[in-house]
Symmetry: C2
Subunit: 166 residues, 2 copies
């Protein structure tokens, strides 16, 4: 497997819009990438390097829900929850997402994750995320989301490379 | 109880936006209005007059889900489903919503339903609905949604009046 391919995170957000689009390619076939999001132990990897994930529940099915936290070494938890609107294996996942630590609840996003097959057993993940307002969208963009995803997806890269070389 | 108060449906949608806001007052206290949305037998009432509702499941809790259909006299079903992101009794409900009969799946909305107490034991329901695109929002506005809601909420008016006069 080529590991020289640089898989960059691309985040697109038009000014004044409610939404943003996150794109990331992986050097692994679609089923492997999709299945990573089906497995709570792998989902725990997708976060900043310096934090440890705790999974409270992860009921991965249409109509299911999830809740997990990223916890720092002082025990401070960043907690997230949502429900799975639709799990369409291995094509897409539609889910809600909320960061619980905000001053008020209700700043929820609706995220559609699409898994596209690329040539060479590679996969493109496209996440279309819609916020409840432009303000929410802009706040999310400035939340450190990019670093957390970059570090999390790098851990998936390592896991996929290991699994493909077994 | 005054029944002379005219409770009009108000739908607001800015041109070129992803969202719309639906407002409707009810001559009933907040708990009664909220509880209507907790009861699948009452939720079945909220639809066009000429259709009969069938409830497949309605698991009304944070992380639950629902699915129901409005069926005409020829057996044609209009089917809807979603998941409950958050049920915060009696203040708000955050849920997803999808009309399954569209040519493709995935045109989901994220709906926040807020129940506000008004003077005189009355309640204002404010629904903020966000679509995945302006196109989806415009299509939803032209779907007959307004008539269905008007006819459905009129049935709630009658039910609330009956319950308050018991």
């Amino acid at each position: 497997m080529k590991t020289s391919t640089k898989n960059e995170l691309k985040i697109t957000a038009a000014p004044g819009s409610f939404d943003c689009t996150i794109e990331r390619e992986f050097n692994a076939p679609r089923e492997m990438v999709f299945n990573a999001f089906a497995d709570p132990e792998i989902v725990k990897l997708i976060g900043p390097d310096r934090l440890t994930a705790k999974m409270y529940h992860y009921d991965f099915r249409s109509g299911g829900s999830y809740r997990y936290a990223h916890i720092d070494d002082k025990g401070n938890a960043h907690t997230f929850n949502g429900c799975f609107h639709e799990v369409a294996t291995p094509e897409h996942i539609i889910q809600t997402f909320e960061y619980e630590n905000l001053p008020e609840r209700g700043h929820v996003t609706l995220d559609t994750m699409m898994f596209e097959t690329l040539p060479g057993n590679r996969t493109k993940l496209v996440i279309h995320s819609i916020c409840r307002s432009v303000t929410d969208r802009d706040a999310m963009m400035q939340s450190g989301m990019e670093t957390g995803l970059e570090q999390g997806y790098a851990k998936l890269d390592a896991l996929f490379e290991k699994n493909l070389n077994l």
